[in-house]
Every structure is written in structure tokens, then in C-alpha cells.
Amino acid sequence: MAIKIKEVTRPPRNFQGQIFIWEVWLGLLVTFRHLFVNLWRHTLKAMGIKTEPGSVTIQYPEDPAVLGRRARTRHRLLKREDGTPRCTACLLCETICPAKCIRIVAEDSPDVIIEKRAKSFSIDLGLCVFCGYCAEACPVDAIHMDSSDVAITAYDRKDMIWNMAELLEGKKSPSIAQ
């Protein structure tokens, strides 16, 4: 792509800008408008009347975190129709992982068409960098990063290592909202 040059003209240094007072007044008008409009909305809300919100703040532990639809959050292992994990222990995710936080032990699957399955599958979420390569590398759509869980906490580093059952079903972290 060719590089384009955009000419930006400086605003002229005119008398109105140089005496400050007029520009300060314009700025004060903006901040006073915000102050009084927000105060009015807070007052209406306190009286129980529905209005536009007076602030954009999300009070996180009480209110749920708002995530983008494509946000990469904690991993989730997917199941087949019959409830068995989709993972075929191909080790692609373990290989591509830049943080080396995935450990998979493979075993023979009783189903000859599937051939292989994971005996154990663990992710050390304390090491994970949430790059999303594992979900991209997976050929059988077995791992997603869409659990909408961002509050992954533990009192011990060992507890940050999630095993297959936990990755399939989810686990309750010791919550900060408690």
C-alpha cells in the first residue's frame, strides 16, 4: 500500500486563543455541562426515576464484566454428541503453545475410527498468555477460548493447573466478590 501524506494545518494563533480567557470559558462550559447533566441524572436515579445513566462505570465484582464478543477468555474443552471429549490428542495445541502451558497424555480410543484420545489434558492457566493459538490450531474444534470467564484466581499455583474434567465442566474459582 502506498504511503499517503496527510497535511495537518495548525490552528491559527489568533487573539481569541492567545488571551486564554475565552478558550478557558469554552472549556468550562463543557465540563460544567457534564457535571450538571450527570448530577441531574444521578439525582433522578436516586429518586427512582429511570433516565440515561449518569456514568459509564461498571462496578465490576458486583456487576458482571462486559466483554467483547470475540474476547479470548478461559479455555473450554468441547464434547461430542455422546458426551465424550472431542480431543483426539494430536498434540498440535501443545506444540504450538508459546507458553508451554498445555500437557496432554494420549491413549488408545476404544472407537477405532477416532483411534486416539486424551488420557489427561491439563492447562496451567498461570502460565497461559491467552494468545489463542491452541484454539486456532485444533483440527477437530475441541478447544475454544470463549467461556467468558476472566476472573481466574487461586490461592495456590497448583490450583491454577486445570485438568480435563475441570476444562470440560468448569470450576468455581475462589471469587473476589465473596
Binding site: I21, V24, L28, T31, F32, H34, L35, S55
Partner: protein, 348 residues
């Protein structure tokens, strides 16, 4: 002896009022900035489950400051290092005691003055105390044996000296109008009416002077947009080596000095304790005087904070340009016009 004790009580009362307002300002600063930036502001500190709009945060701040480690850098000049915050805060608090919180009233058979320190040179006293505050800044920067602190202190000194000149020139023109340096007399002078219905407050007689005073006062008390000596977020200030309550005292100094200059603005430009159309006397009148004075002070503080959260910080050369090349000539012009005007008025 009794009068000395009585004065001491009044001074303590003024200082306590000032400190309480300073604590309140800590809350106001957070909440006002939050609301005008579409945020909520600090609201987590609670006592027995009560949060009261984050009102307990100043208390939590004070507790944190008091319980923090008070670290003194090993190369610091120990006595100066320990004295600096005290000098800064002490002169600010003394300035509070010279403000006219109210007039002379007769209550319960006694004649009482509601101005703690009455002096025919009250204006000079407050100005002097404000300019002594700069010693704390320079001492803090110099004694902490840190180049950043030293440069911050020097920035503070040159800024405050520059704006002190503007402040004194502006205030001399308003003192010229009232014909007195006594703050109480100045407030009494403003009790009259112009053309029978406009209160003859300083802001009506000296509109340019009020603007210049407000600007110079914001610079003198190191408030944003003139907070280069400390530079909370980007540039390192004179109190970089301070921790614990000593740092807290520097923060308090800012608030206390703002209260002092707001008190000056109220006394000289906003009619002090006067309420237009009310003749105040007696115990109830005294109460109304003090409340009116404090309400006006809070109004000026509110305006100063709004300006703080509206404007970005100046660069240092711009700051000195503004002081020496713009505000000083304007205040000299204001002084000349005032002298001329007063002369013509007296000739009438």
C-alpha cells in the same frame, strides 16, 4: 490575659475549620472530577456497611498516611527534611486565622470579633504567610538530597515568586479602592450599595482584578493548571522523597492554601460575610455571617477545582511567560486604572 486566651480559642477554631474543609476538599476533588468525567469516583470505603457516597475515603486516606512507613533517605539533611512539611503547612494554617470569618457582633452581653487575628495590616499578613510557604517547598527539594526534588523545588520557587508579584499588584489595586489593608474594614466597605441596588462587592468594582487574582492565586497555591512544582502524574516534584504523613502534610498544604486564597477572594472580591439586604447583628447574625463566609469560600473552591479538571498543565516557560509578560502588565494596568478611577471618584 483573657483576651489572649480568647484569641487563641478563635485561632484554634479557625484552624480546625480549615482542616475540616481540607478533608472535605479531598472528597470533593475526587467526586467532582469523577462526575464531570462521567465516572462514579471512589465509593468503596465503608464503616459498618455504610458508604455515604465515598465520604469515608478522606478518613481512610488519613489512616493510611499515618500508618505508612516514614522513610527518611539516608543522604537527606535530617532537620530540614523533617521541618519542611511543617513550615509549608504551618504558615498555611496561620493564614487561615487572619481571615474575617465574621464581623464584630454583640452576643450575650459581650462584644466579640469573629476574625481571629485582627490587624490593620491583615492583607499584608496573609500575603506574607503565603510567601513564607515557599520556603517549605524549597527546603523539601533541597534537603531530600535528590536532584529531581531539588529541580522541583527550584521550579516551585521561581513560579511562586513570579506569581506573588502579580498577586501583590492585583491586591494592592483592590486595597486602593477600599482605602485599607484591614480585611475586616474591606468587608465592611463592601456592605454599601452601588446605584442603590448593586452590592458594591470587589468583583463588581474590579472584574479584571478578580480574574487576575484567581489566576495568580491558582498559581500561588500550586493548583492545576499551574501544578508544575509537584506535577502529580508526569514530572517529578519537590516531595518525591517524602512518604507517610510528611507527604500527607504537603497534600494538606495545597488544600489549606487554596482555602486561604479562597478566603482572600471572598473577603476582598465577594463581599466577605456580607449578605445583601440583611443587616447582621447579635448571636444569630454572627452565625449567618460565618455561614455566608464559608459558603462563598466553598463556591470559590468549587470554581478552582472545576478549572483544575478543565485545563491541561502549562509548560514551564509558558507559565513564566503568562506570569511575567501577561498577568503582571495587566495587573499594573489595572492598578493604574484603579488609581485614576479612585482619584476621579474622590474629586466628584
Amino acid at each position: 490575659m483573657i483576651s489572649v486566651a480568647w484569641t487563641a480559642v478563635k485561632v484554634i477554631f479557625a484552624v480546625a475549620t480549615g482542616l475540616n474543609i481540607a478533608g472535605f476538599l479531598g472528597w470533593l476533588e475526587r467526586k467532582q472530577s469523577a462526575v464531570l468525567q462521567d465516572r462514579i469516583g471512589a465509593n468503596r470505603a465503608e464503616i459498618f456497611g455504610f458508604r455515604v457516597l465515598g465520604f469515608f475515603h478522606p478518613i481512610a486516606d488519613a489512616l493510611k498516611m499515618l500508618t505508612k512507613e516514614d522513610y527518611i533517605p539516608p543522604f537527606a539533611h535530617q532537620p530540614f527534611y523533617a521541618m519542611a512539611p511543617g513550615i509549608s503547612l504551618g504558615f498555611g494554617l496561620l493564614g487561615l486565622a487572619a481571615l474575617p470569618f465574621g464581623g464584630n457582633i454583640t452576643a450575650f452581653g459581650h462584644s466579640v470579633s469573629l476574625q481571629p487575628i485582627q490587624s490593620p495590616y491583615g492583607l499584608l499578613l496573609v500575603l506574607g504567610l503565603l510567601s513564607l510557604g515557599v520556603h517549605g517547598v524549597v527546603m523539601a527539594g533541597y534537603s531530600s538530597a535528590s536532584n529531581y526534588g531539588l529541580i522541583g523545588g527550584l521550579r516551585g520557587a521561581s513560579q511562586m515568586i513570579a506569581y506573588e508579584v502579580c498577586l501583590a499588584t492585583t491586591l494592592s489595586s483592590v486595597a486602593f479602592v477600599y482605602g485599607t489593608l484591614d480585611l475586616q474594614q474591606a468587608v465592611l466597605w463592601q456592605g454599601r450599595l452601588l446605584f442603590g441596588f448593586i452590592p458594591a462587592w470587589g468583583i463588581v468594582l474590579q472584574p479584571l482584578g478578580f480574574l487576575l487574582f484567581l489566576t495568580a492565586a491558582a498559581a500561588e497555591t500550586k493548583r492545576t493548571p499551574f501544578d508544575l512544582p509537584e506535577g502529580e502524574s508526569e514530572i517529578v516534584g519537590y516531595h518525591v522523597e517524602y512518604s507517610g504523613m510528611k507527604f500527607g502534610m504537603f497534600l494538606m498544604t495545597d488544600f489549606v492554601e487554596s482555602i486561604v486564597v479562597s478566603g482572600l477572594a471572598t473577603a476582598l472580591y465577594l463581599g466577605g460575610w456580607q449578605v445583601p439586604g440583611l443587616h447582621l447583628a447579635g448571636a444569630l447574625g454572627g452565625l449567618i455571617m460565618v455561614l455566608a463566609f464559608l459558603a462563598k469560600v466553598m463556591l470559590v473552591l468549587f470554581l478552582l477545582m472545576q478549572i483544575r479538571w478543565t485545563l491541561p498543565r502549562f509548560r514551564f516557560d509558558q507559565l513564566l511567560d503568562l506570569g511575567w509578560k501577561n498577568i503582571l502588565p495587566l495587573s499594573l494596568l489595572n492598578f493604574l486604572l484603579t488609581v485614576w478611577g479612585v482619584y476621579l471618584w474622590r474629586l466628584r
